[in-house]
Amino acid sequence: MKQHNTERLSALADGELKGLSRWLAQRHVRHCPQCAAELQRVERVRQTLAACPPIIEMSDSADFFWSKVKRDITTREPQTVFIPVPRLSLADWLLVHRGALATATSGLMVALLTGVMLQQPHSAGPGTVLVERVDTVIPNTVATPLKGAESDVAVIWVSGLEWTADLDEMKQRFENSET
C-alpha cells in the first residue's frame, strides 16, 4: 500500500482483506502514522455503531402487514382522481401530431394535383399526336383512331370504303358519289 488509501483501510477494519493484501496493509499502517490514525478513527466509528444498533419496532410480521395492506386496497371503493393535464401550446400540438399532419398534407397535395390535372383540358403532352374526334359520312364506312406505342404518330383507319381496281376507277367512283 504505497499510497494512503482510505478504502483499503476501511476494508482492513472490516476484516475483508485476506492474505498478502492484509499483510501489506498492516505493514503500511505500522510505518505510516497518518494511516494508523485513520484506521483508529474508522475502528472507533465501527465500535460506536456496533454499540448502538438501530431498533425497529413493528407489531406485525412483514407478511401479516402486507396482507392487511392488500385487504385495505380491495375493500376501498374506486375513487375519481383528478390528474391535471398540462395545456399544450401550438408548437407542442404540432410536435405531437406531426405524423398525422404529414399524412394530411400529403393527401391534400395529391388531391389538389389530381384536381388540377382533371380540370386541365385534355391536351397532347410533349411530343404526342392525339386524335380528338374522327368521323366519316360515307354509309357503311368506319373511321377508327388506333393507338400505338409511339406517341408522335397517330393512325386513323378508314375501313369499308369501296374497293376499286385502279386509281382511275377510284377517281371516277368518288367523283360520282357526292357527300
Binding site: E132, T136, V153, I156, K171, F174
Partner: protein, 140 residues
C-alpha cells in the same frame, strides 16, 4: 442609330415568328417491287410499321403555312384534297381540323392535336392490292 435598332428588332421578330406549316402527302402503299420513293425516306419506317407494306410511293404532296382561323386547301393529286382549319395553337402543338376529300366525296373528318414533327397517318381507300395513305405533319 434608330434604323439599326429597328433592323435588329425586325430580324429578331422574323427569327422567332417562323410560320408553322402543315404538310400533307398522298401515298400509295404497295408490295410491288420498285414502287418506293426517296421522298418518303423520313417516314418510311413508320409507314412500314403501321401498314406492313414493303414499298411506299408518293403520289402527291403540298405544304402550306397555317393561318389562325383560315381554312387551307391542299391539293394532293389524283383528285384528292385536304382541307385544314387551325382550331388552336400551343407552343409546339396545333389543334387542326381535317377534311379529306376525293373529288366531291368526304372520306374523313377529324380533329387532331398534332405536335411539331409528329405524324398523322390515315389508311384510306383500297386500289387493287394497294392502299391509299394520307400522311400529315406539322413543321416549323
Amino acid at each position: 442609330m434608330r434604323w439599326i435598332a429597328t433592323l435588329v428588332l425586325s430580324l429578331l421578330f422574323a427569327g422567332t415568328a417562323q410560320a408553322t406549316s402543315v404538310e400533307a402527302r398522298l401515298i400509295r402503299a404497295s408490295n410491288e417491287i420498285g414502287k418506293s420513293d426517296a421522298a418518303l425516306a423520313d417516314i418510311h419506317a413508320k409507314l412500314k410499321e403501321k401498314f406492313g407494306y414493303q414499298f411506299y410511293q408518293q403520289l402527291g404532296a403540298q405544304r402550306q403555312p397555317l393561318k389562325a382561323g383560315a381554312k387551307l386547301r391542299l391539293d394532293l393529286g389524283e383528285n384528292f384534297s385536304l382541307f385544314v382549319t387551325p382550331k388552336s395553337s400551343g407552343k409546339r402543338q396545333q389543334k387542326l381540323e381535317f377534311e379529306w376529300y376525293s373529288g366531291k366525296t368526304l372520306l374523313l373528318r377529324s380533329v387532331v392535336e398534332i405536335v411539331e414533327n409528329g405524324h398523322l397517318l390515315v389508311k384510306g381507300p383500297e386500289v387493287g392490292n394497294d392502299w391509299i395513305v394520307l400522311a400529315v405533319s406539322v413543321r416549323n
